[in-house]
Symmetry: C2
Subunit: 162 residues, 2 copies
């Protein structure tokens, strides 16, 4: 019952996970890392490294893009973000990431025509994935699923058939 609003500061389990990973690497808990974490935790959907820097600046944090790049892998390792999206990448080959901490694991439905992204979760698929993994002797750690197609609206506008 003590779970507060999204504005609460005290017990941030994400921060704890992040710290744990940092400590594992013999690292330190810096104000920059806290700021990066705070910005990322409020991002909904996917983002690029550059956007993290921009949001940091908007809030008055003068943190360099280099520092953002150096911390993204740690955030991935902490399970707070993940690499995302095969179907839509940046021009020069940039990678997109997505904030996933806490929320029930979800996957994406992506419209190839207008770029609409819908998050969904479908436990039955997860169960089957687990079954596949087991049949190959794998212990499943995570997965990445994108369903790419044509959304209702674009279909009405007449999306081309393949």
């Amino acid at each position: 019952m003590q779970q507060g609003s999204s504005q609460d500061q005290p017990k941030d389990k994400r921060a704890e996970d992040f710290r744990a990973v940092i400590e594992t690497h013999g690292g330190r808990w810096t104000r920059e890392r806290l700021a990066i974490l705070q910005v990322i935790r409020e991002i909904r959907g996917h983002f690029f490294a550059e956007e993290v820097e921009r949001k940091l600046h908007e809030r008055g944090h003068q943190i360099s893009l280099t520092t953002v790049y150096r911390n993204l892998p740690l955030l991935v390792e902490a399970g707070i973000i993940r690499r995302a999206c095969v179907s839509e990448e940046k021009k020069g080959g940039g990678s997109s990431y997505e904030h996933i901490w806490g929320e029930e694991h979800h996957d994406h439905l992506i419209c190839a025509h207008c770029g609409l992204r819908i998050e969904f979760s479908y436990p039955a698929i997860d169960v089957l994935q687990e079954a596949v993994a087991q049949s190959y002797g794998f212990k499943l750690e995570r997965h990445h699923l994108e369903l790419i197609g044509c959304c209702t609206e674009c279909q009405q506008r007449g999306c081309r058939e393949r």
Copy 2:
């Protein structure tokens, strides 16, 4: 000068698909495109643009990396290759691709510890994906699924728990 025989009719259905896409764009059927297609059709698993260039050179084709880059999107559009792999990218952010033409659609099981990649196909998952897409009004065109975990061998060597 090599006998291009650019006028012959390919028995290769991949080539037909590729040609169709090229024609749709008002493009032309060149010996370079044929060579790129032939190299890619023999690649198993995933690859980077640079590797296509290297294989072309190994076979005596002096085709530039630029040309490879210019043709990859057409090959994707023709359904011969697809962008691949969120879980393992190149250093500078390079994109990987994968030859998918013809083969029954498959997904990947990837060992996060040793990099082992296993292709699998599981129709039941495809059926569920179709169901999800329909429930959101999407017409599904394709999908991308990666199951990331720890393979049998790495488990025996003791892969860390998360």
